[in-house]
């Protein structure tokens, strides 16, 4: 493990992990104070933080612009519901099964799709996402177009679900922190920034992308499974809908691609700032996220987090220059 993540303790990793622990403690501490509606909004935000951070591993850090998040959400959702329905297993077992199926599905997709590079990969993931959705509408085992619902007796209550969501988001962010501040993260970024050069330096681009894809797929499926438990009943058009991929990408890019906290910020800003506020006008909120996405990519390439960092750095530099001039 030490070899895998690289030797040495990075101070930024420790700072991030401490921040994460404090965040989790606060989130768990306020559980009792939240009302029904607040709990459900908070759960959704946390799940978006999880799946957005998971996409960021493959899309931001490894630079593979995947549109397949929706497929992993759907795979996770159906895995947990089918397990609860068919075998009546505890929720934890169902979630673990979803994670395993998500990882396996990611491995299969990766083997096929990583023969493609750049935007061919992107279009390939779009084909995979649409193929998965149309397949599910014809598969009678999972209820075809009408879908399936989880047995109500086995679905956790909203507070328990909230705690699961805190756990899922925390695990995903922790994985991000560990990956970003490790040699694995450096290798992934080297594949993103110059695949052929990375290859010539002895890094296997295929291997690196597969690692990112499998971790990302497993964590996205976990989020999908919890979304399914929140909704109780699922059908192909919603569970495998491309809206998932779109939302996740918008959140990651608006927040700050390839960083640990960017996707977290993006998920909160987009979901709480736009989706919740414009609840009665879903089309307008989608329109607004599209506009924001285009504006961010045009004027703020680093997203919210990148812009704040650049601003802070510029301020610090100016202050330094100012103090050295006077002193």
């Amino acid at each position: 493990m030490r070899h895998f993540f690289g030797a040495g303790v990075s101070p930024s990793r420790n700072r991030s992990l401490i921040g994460l622990v404090i965040g989790v403690a606060v989130l768990l501490g306020v559980t009792g104070m939240l009302g029904r509606y607040q709990i459900s909004v908070a759960t959704t935000i946390l799940l978006y933080i999880g799946v957005t951070s998971a996409w960021n591993l493959i899309g931001g850090i490894a630079g593979q612009f995947s549109l397949a998040s929706s497929a992993f959400i759907g795979v996770g959702a159906y895995s947990v519901v089918m397990m609860l329905r068919g075998l009546g297993v505890p929720v934890a077992v169902g979630l673990a099964f979803a994670v395993v199926v998500g990882a396996a599905f990611a491995a299969i997709l990766g083997v096929i799709l990583f023969r493609l590079r750049g935007f061919y990969f992107t279009i390939g993931t779009l084909a995979a996402a649409l193929a998965a959705m149309t397949w599910m509408t014809t598969w009678q085992f999972t209820g075809g177009t009408s879908g399936v619902s989880a047995p109500l007796a086995l679905i956790p209550d909203s507070k328990t679900l909230y705690i699961w969501a805190v756990a899922a988001a925390a695990i995903t962010v922790a994985v991000s922190i560990l990956v970003v501040n490790s040699s694995l993260g450096l290798r992934l970024k080297s594949v993103r920034d110059g695949e052929d050069i990375a290859d010539s330096l002895g890094i296997s681009p295929f291997g690196m992308k597969m690692i990112a894809m499998v971790i990302s797929g497993a964590l996205t499926a976990l989020g999908g499974a919890l979304f399914a438990l929140q909704k109780a009943s699922i059908e192909p058009k919603s569970a495998f809908g491309l809206d998932w991929s779109i939302t996740v990408i918008v959140m990651a890019i608006v927040g700050g691609l390839g960083t640990v906290w960017g996707p977290v910020i993006g998920a909160v800003v987009i979901y709480y700032g736009i989706t919740v506020q414009l609840q009665s006008l879903p089309a307008v909120s989608a329109l607004l996220s599209g506009v924001i996405l285009v504006l961010v990519i045009r004027f703020l390439p680093g997203g919210i987090l990148g812009t704040i960092e650049t601003g802070v750095r510029a301020l610090v530099a100016r202050r330094r220059r100012g103090s050295s001039a006077t002193g």
């Binding site: 061919y120 084909a127 193929a131 014809t138 989608a286 045009r298």
Partner: protein, 300 residues
């Protein structure tokens, strides 16, 4: 295999070629993957439906209004947004077109609602006999549109000054610029032309099938499949790619049942992409390109 199945496939193939032509144009000239192309198609269909409901103008006559308007709206998008982003690498223009696709489909939903629509016309249900098979007139028109657009684009590209400027800007933008070609304008006109082709496809789709604000994503995948099959920058290849895809879908639907028609396309696309290494894929445009401007998608 029944002849009717093959004929139906070839007829749909004309539409698929039309979708591919627009994508191939922007991809071939400026390496831009336009993820909003499907939505541009659907915008064409909605624009035509507006013209129809306001002035009662027949969908195909409405092209005279719809095509210039959409081209004019597309021009500044390339000129002032996408061209600048192309210089920043692969991902920014991809994300921007992704955002545009989201804006267009959400905008259409906000204005028109999510219910499926169809452009009403006297001929959309009319039938005719072709090689002893009963087919819809509109589907024959669709194949005709694909063939005509292919020939027109080929002639413009090969035998006009504008086509020469476009090929020059595509092969080596910097040198083309020093030779007095306004590369930015060429890029913007190319994008506008691609949007115009999309609008024509959209009006056809509106008359022959139904459409919703979110239909675009399925069509864009069809378009990309056609482009990959036919080879970018190869106009007649795109037509053949469209016909092949139409055949594959029609035969697949006949073999596995109608509900697998879409699945056949997605699966076929992944197989085509994954089975052949890129360098072998007959992308003639890649080969004529100087190594320095070639992007990383081509494996050595």
């Amino acid at each position: 295999m029944e002849f009717g199945v093959i004929l139906a496939g070839l007829l749909t193939g004309g539409l698929y070629a039309t979708i591919g032509l627009g994508l191939s144009l922007v991809f071939g000239v400026m390496r831009l993957v336009n993820l909003a192309h499907g939505e541009l198609i659907i915008v064409g269909a909605y624009a035509s439906s507006l013209v129809l409901s306001w002035w009662g103008i027949d969908p195909f006559l409405s092209l005279v209004i719809v095509v210039p308007v959409i081209a004019a709206l597309a021009y500044p998008v390339q000129r002032y947004l996408l061209t600048g982003l192309l210089r920043r690498g692969l991902e920014p223009p991809l994300v921007a077109t992704f955002g545009i696709s989201l804006i267009l489909s959400a905008g259409l939903t906000a204005i028109f609602g999510g219910d499926p629509r169809k452009l009403a016309s006297s001929y959309s249900a009319a039938g005719m006999s072709l090689f002893g098979q009963q087919v819809r007139v509109i589907d024959v028109v669709g194949l005709g549109i694909g063939v005509v657009l292919t020939v027109v684009i080929f002639l413009v590209m090969r035998h006009s000054r504008w086509g020469a400027a476009l090929r020059a800007a595509s092969t080596d933008p910097a040198t083309a610029g020093t030779m007095g070609i306004n590369v930015n304008a060429v890029y913007a006109i190319t994008f506008a032309a691609s949007a115009a082709v999309a609008a024509i496809g959209g009006v056809f789709i509106g008359t022959a099938y139904s459409f919703t604000p979110t239909s675009g994503m399925g069509y864009i995948l069809i378009g990309f499949t056609v482009v990959v099959l036919g080879g970018t920058g190869n106009t007649f290849g795109t037509l053949i790619g469209g016909l092949v895809l139409g055949l594959v879908q029609s035969i697949g639907g006949a073999l596995f049942g109608g509900e697998y028609r879409d699945f056949v396309i997605y699966a076929f696309f992944i197989v085509v992409l994954a089975a052949k290494p890129l360098a072998e894929r007959g992308l003639d445009a890649w080969r004529s390109r100087p190594a320095a401007t070639r992007r990383t998608e081509v494996r050595a």
